[in-house]
Amino acid sequence: MTPDEALAETIRVEGRRVLATLIRTLGNMQLAEDAVQDASLAALRTWPETGVPDDPRAWLTVTARHKAYDVIRRERARPTKEIAAGWDAPMAAPDPAAEVIDVIEPDSVVRDDLLRLVFTCCHPALAREAQVALSLRTLAGLDVAAIARAFLVPEPTMAKRLVRARQKIAQANIPYRVPSDAELPERLPAALAVVYLIATEAHAPSGGEAVARVDLEVEAIRLARLLVELMPGEAELLSLLALLLYTQARRPARTDPDGQPVLLEHQDRRFWDHAAIAEASGLLADAVRRTGGVAGTYQLQAHLAACHSTAPSWADTDWARVVGLYDLLLTLTTNPAVALNRAVAVGYLDGPAAALAALDAITGLDRSHLWHAARADALRQLGRPAEAAGALRSAIALAPTDPERRLLEQRLSDLD
């Protein structure tokens, strides 16, 4: 990390903590965000010359507060304008003496403020896409342009989405509050789903240029680490972080030198990040210990990732365990994509006839190119090339991206 990057990282990490507290004390998310944004820009401008202050968080807090109070004073001077809708904001002018004393919040208060921010961003009254956008903006500290690029939407569209979400929080009075222990089981899954969605978006085939995309995989892991830091005892959260780390560990082997995707089966396992795999395995073991054998969906997915990440080779994968884990996962979800993956694993365990039977037992995937491609593979192995070719043609017609289509066309020509 260069000194400039380290500086930007400090501002970004501390800026989130300052924001979380400022939202509570100002009672207004938009105002707090604008103020922290201004303070961060001021820090980026001045710190390279003055050096990073002893307590960067205090510096950012004082600067952001002053920016916010400036805005409040200006708004007050305009008698017709109503401000601070939603939360009843304590809008009294600050007492400079008190300010110095109370500017450094204890870590426990900052922790609670970050939790408030997590659960406000992931409140069930907000649409999932709004939860994702808000989390990346306020928790991860990405700017609007970067989030828009990551989700391949125009910047004004993303900006509007964020404005609407903040307006709903203010006008519908979504509370800035840590859920009670009793509420947590129904509130935590939304936060996990947001992180998972950000991570899966990172792996989804991109229509844009890879270089222009924000590294959503890194952002998802950063968010997951923040949540683990805030709620260290939550087993599903530990499992989710483990799952993300297992996946990220394969990254160096996931593309060939030309940038083309390499399937798991063909990846050179020597290039995997074995430190990340070890960390993931430690987290997963912790999660298992905490749940006492009753696994949630993220734990099962992490176990599946572990099966691949700890196998010495594709051929040496414990397929019986993989199929067993998919069976367990199917008791918790009806997602046909899980059934598809299970059927493919059945093929490695019991051969192509068993795979074909399992594939044909799945309903609801006749629009999925992956299902047709998996059928084609089983049919080819069973020595039924004409039917395999037909299935491949269906897959090609349904393939969503050019690289996938090319891969399938290659398989079709290999049949002859």
């Binding site: 109503e82 809708a85 009254a125 006008q171 519908a172 009075n173 979504i174 509370p175 509050r177």
Partner: protein, 126 residues
Amino acid sequence: MTLYAALLYYPQDRYWTDLDHAQHAPDFREFAEQASAADVLRPGGMPLRPSGTATTITVDGGKGGDVLVTDGPYAEAKEVLGGFFLIEADDLDEAIRWAAQIPTAWLGKVELRPIAPMQGGTAIRE
């Protein structure tokens, strides 16, 4: 505190005539008593007659334009607005807890909408 309208939506084909309201009256009474005792229920909430009695009015061409009157509710939807309560709660979470006590939440759906404060006869937008 925020004032919310809890809008009560019912399946079109079961509202009023088929819904045996006598059967659900005790549940509605229970909600109203508890919400009143908790000082959450505000006066003004009303049931609406069935959507077959609705008349929709449009003024075409701006103020003073032609008044168009059509039979029936505005939207041809599977669900119809059947009434509303006014609930004043600390925040959305508290309002959701009360809305979940209204029998309509299991007979149909309840939509919570914050009431916009008024100033000088107009709703404050921000």
